[in-house]
C-alpha cells in the first residue's frame, strides 16, 4: 500500500472524571487519509468525533484532557512526538481545522481580513502588505463578494455563511495538506450548507488536500465523502467506502444511524422506509459497560456481547472493517433486520 497522507494509529485521549480517574474519550482509533480524499467521521454527539479531531491537532483542552498514546503520522513525522514549538508550525500550515460555530469562532474585535492574514504571517516570513494581499485573494477564493470591502469589517457585519467562508479562508491560508472540518455546516441553513460543502470540495480538488469531515448528517456524507468511519463511545466501530456503507452498513449501530435519517434517497437496501430512532443514549464514557458499548441499545444483542469487547476486523472487501460479534457476511438480505 502506498504511504498515506495522514495515518493515525492507536490514538488514545483521556479525560478526567469528576471522581479523578482517567477514562478514554478516544480509544485506540486507527485512521488513514489519502490526498484528494474526503473521509467522513460519523456518530452521535459525545461519541468522540470532535475529540479525535482535537487530538490530531493536539488541541485537547487541558487540564481536563490529556493525550494517552498512539501515533499521528504526517509526512513521515509523528505529530504526537513533536515539541510544542514544532507542533505550532504544523498547525495552520500542514493541518488546519474548521469549527462548528462560525458565530463564535472568529475574534469579534478583529477585522476579518486581519484574522486571515494572521495565519499567513504566523507561518511565512512576508511583509504585512504581502500577507494582506494574499488574505484578500483568499477571501475572493472562498467566494466572498466585495472582498476588499469585507477585509476591514468585523465578524458581526457578516452572516453565518460568510463567517464560515472566512473560517475556510483562514484554514486554507497556507495550503494545508490535511483539513479537519468539525461539523462545518451544522450551524448553517441548508442552502448555505450545500454552498459551503461544494466550496470545500472544489478547493480540495484544486489543492490536492485530504479532508476529514466530521458530521452527524448522513446526507452530507452521502454527497461529499469517499469513505466513512463510524465512531461509537470513543471507538471506531465500522469503516467502509461510502458506496458500501450506504449499500449495506455492517454494524448494527451504523444501520440504526441510517435508519434514523429522514432522507428519501437513503432508505435501507430492502426498502424499509420506516423512520426510527435509536433507543437510549450513548453511555457515559467514564462508566462504559463491559463488552460492546452499544450492547445496551442493540437490537441484535446476544449474551456474549455483554462480556466480550468486539475487536475491529476486516469485513468483506479490501479496507472494510467492522467491530461487532454479530456482523456477518454483508449480503443485502441480511441488512434490514
Amino acid at each position: 500500500m502506498p504511504q498515506s497522507l495522514l495515518r493515525v494509529r492507536g490514538l488514545r485521549t483521556e479525560f478526567r472524571s469528576p471522581r479523578g480517574s482517567w477514562f478514554p474519550v478516544v480509544n485506540g482509533v486507527d485512521l488513514r487519509l489519502e490526498a484528494g480524499e474526503t473521509l467522513a467521521v460519523v456518530g452521535e454527539s459525545g461519541c468522540g468525533k470532535s475529540m479525535l479531531a482535537y487530538s490530531i491537532m493536539r488541541l485537547v483542552p487541558r487540564p481536563l484532557g490529556r493525550p494517552a498514546g498512539g501515533e499521528v503520522l504526517l509526512g513521515g513525522r509523528d505529530l504526537l512526538q513533536l515539541s510544542e514549538r514544532e507542533m505550532r508550525a504544523v498547525r495552520g500550515r500542514d493541518v488546519s481545522m474548521i469549527f462548528q460555530e462560525p458565530m463564535t469562532s472568529l475574534n469579534p474585535l478583529m477585522p476579518v481580513g486581519e484574522q486571515v492574514s494572521e495565519s499567513i504571517r504566523e507561518h511565512e516570513s512576508c511583509t504585512s502588505g504581502e500577507a494582506a494581499r494574499r488574505a484578500l485573494e483568499l477571501l475572493d477564493l472562498v467566494g466572498i463578494p466585495e472582498p476588499a470591502k469585507r477585509f476591514g469589517q468585523y465578524p458581526h457585519h457578516l452572516s453565518g455563511g460568510m463567517r464560515q467562508r472566512v473560517m475556510i479562508a483562514i484554514a486554507l491560508a497556507c495550503r494545508p495538506k490535511v483539513l479537519i472540518a468539525d461539523e462545518p455546516t451544522t450551524a448553517l441553513d441548508v442552502t448555505i450548507q450545500a454552498q459551503v460543502l461544494a466550496l470545500l470540495d472544489r478547493l480540495k480538488r484544486e489543492m490536492g488536500m485530504g479532508i476529514i469531515l466530521i458530521t452527524h448528517d448522513l446526507g452530507v456524507v452521502a454527497e461529499w465523502a469517499q469513505r466513512v468511519m463510524v465512531m461509537y463511545a470513543g471507538r471506531k466501530v465500522e469503516e467502509a467506502s461510502a458506496e458500501e456503507f450506504f449499500g449495506g452498513p455492517a454494524h448494527p449501530y451504523s444501520r440504526a444511524l441510517l435508519a434514523s435519517v429522514p432522507s428519501p434517497e437513503l432508505v435501507l437496501a430492502d426498502g424499509d422506509h420506516e423512520l426510527t430512532e435509536i433507543a437510549g443514549t450513548v453511555p457515559p464514557l467514564d462508566r462504559l459497560p463491559q463488552g460492546c458499548a452499544f450492547a445496551g441499545r442493540c437490537p441484535r444483542v446476544q449474551d456474549r456481547c455483554g462480556e466480550e469487547q468486539p475487536v475491529l476486523r476486516p469485513f468483506g472487501s479490501e479496507g472494510r472493517m467492522v467491530a461487532c460479534l454479530r456482523a456477518d457476511s454483508p449480503r443485502a438480505g441480511e441488512i434490514g433486520r
Partner: protein, 333 residues
C-alpha cells in the same frame, strides 16, 4: 467618526439631564430628614442660645419658610447653576466646591488608573497561572483586599509608611509653608498623593483583579481562541492579541459603574488623610448641617457620575467595534 462621537456625547448629556434633576429633587428632601438644622448646630456651638436667636438665624437663611417655598427657590437657583450660599464658610457654594474639586479629581483619577491598571495586570496573571501558586497567591490577596475596610487600610498605611518608616507624609495635600514652586510643588503633591490614592484603589483593585481573572478564564475557553491556536499562533500572542482585549471589556463596564462608589469611598479616604477635596468638605458640611453646601456637592457629584458614564460608553466604542454610537446596523447578509 469623531463628529458622530461628539453628537453622541451631546445626546448622552441631554439624556443625563433628567437624571441629574431627579437626583437634585430627591437629595433636597433626603438631607432634611436628618434631625437638626444649621440653627441648632450654631446654637450648640455657641454653648447657649435663646429661642429668639435661633429664630433670627432661621429667618436669615430662609429656614423659617415652608418646605415647598424653600424647594421652589432652590430649584429655581439650581437651574441657573446657582448652588446658593454656605452659611458656615460665609462664601458661595460654587466657589467652595470649585476650590476643592481638583483635589478630588486628582485623587480619584489616580486611584482609578492604579486600580484598573494593576487589577487588569494581576487578574491576567492570576488567569495565566490558574491553579498554580502565583494564581492562588493573587486570588488570596484579592479576597483579603476586597474584605478589608477602607478606613482601616488607610490607618494601617499611615502607621507603617508614614509613622514607622517615614516615607510619606501622614496627611494633607502639600507641605505647609513650603514654597518650592513649579516642579517642586508637583512632586510635593505627588508625594502626598501616594498613600490616599493607594488606599482608595485597594478595594477596587481587588474587584478588578477578580473580575479580570474570571473574564480571562472565560475568554480563554472561547471558540475563537481555539481558532487562533489552530492557526499555529503561539500562546503568548494568543493571549495578547485575542484574549486580553476581549477579557478587558467587563472590567471597563465595571469601572464605569464604580465611579460613583469611588466618589463615596473618597469621603472616607479624604477624612482619614485630611485630603482637602470634596469628600472632606461633604463630611464637614454634614456635621455642620450646612445643607446648601452638601446639596451642592451632591449635585456636582451626580454631574460627575453622569459625565463619566458617558465617557466610559464612548471609550467602549473605541475598544469594541460591535457597539455603534447611533444604533445604525451595518450588518449585511
Amino acid at each position: 467618526m469623531w463628529q458622530a462621537r461628539l453628537s453622541y456625547l451631546l445626546r448622552r448629556f441631554a439624556h443625563g439631564l433628567p437624571i441629574v434633576l431627579a437626583i437634585v429633587v430627591v437629595n433636597f428632601f433626603l438631607v432634611r430628614l436628618a434631625p437638626g438644622d444649621a440653627a441648632t448646630v450654631l446654637a450648640g456651638e455657641a454653648g447657649a442660645a435663646t429661642a429668639q436667636y435661633m429664630e433670627q438665624i432661621r429667618a436669615q437663611f430662609g429656614l423659617d419658610q415652608p418646605l415647598y417655598v424653600q424647594f421652589l427657590s432652590y430649584m429655581k437657583n439650581i437651574l441657573v447653576f446657582d448652588m446658593g450660599y454656605s452659611f458656615r464658610h460665609g462664601r458661595t457654594v460654587a466657589s467652595l466646591i470649585f476650590e476643592r474639586l481638583w483635589a478630588t479629581l486628582l485623587l480619584m483619577g489616580t486611584a482609578m488608573a492604579i486600580s484598573t491598571g494593576i487589577g487588569v495586570l494581576l487578574g491576567a496573571l492570576a488567569a495565566r497561572y490558574d491553579r498554580k501558586p502565583l494564581g492562588f497567591a493573587i486570588v488570596l490577596f484579592a479576597i483579603v483586599s476586597y474584605a478589608t475596610p477602607l478606613f482601616w487600610v488607610g490607618l494601617m498605611l499611615i502607621i507603617v509608611f508614614a509613622l514607622n518608616l517615614g516615607w510619606f507624609p501622614t496627611s494633607g495635600i502639600a507641605t505647609i509653608g513650603a514654597d518650592t514652586g513649579g516642579l517642586g510643588h508637583v512632586l510635593d503633591v505627588a508625594h502626598h498623593l501616594v498613600l490616599p490614592a493607594l488606599t482608595l484603589s485597594f478595594f477596587y483593585m481587588a474587584l478588578y483583579t477578580r473580575l479580570m481573572r474570571a473574564s480571562m478564564l472565560e475568554t480563554l475557553r472561547m471558540d475563537f481562541v481555539t481558532t487562533a491556536r489552530a492557526k499555529g499562533v503561539a500562546e503568548g500572542r494568543v493571549v495578547r492579541r485575542h484574549v486580553l482585549r476581549n477579557a478587558i471589556l467587563p472590567v471597563l463596564t465595571m469601572a464605569g459603574v464604580q465611579v460613583s462608589g469611588m466618589l463615596g469611598g473618597s469621603v472616607i479616604v479624604e477624612s482619614v488623610f485630611g485630603w482637602p477635596g470634596l469628600g472632606l468638605l461633604a463630611f464637614e458640611s454634614l456635621a455642620a448641617r450646612d445643607l446648601n453646601l452638601l446639596l451642592g456637592i451632591f449635585f456636582l457629584s451626580s454631574l460627575l457620575v453622569v459625565a463619566t458614564n458617558a465617557l466610559i460608553d464612548l471609550a467602549y466604542t473605541l475598544v469594541d467595534p460591535r457597539i455603534e454610537l447611533a444604533g445604525r446596523s451595518k450588518r449585511n447578509d
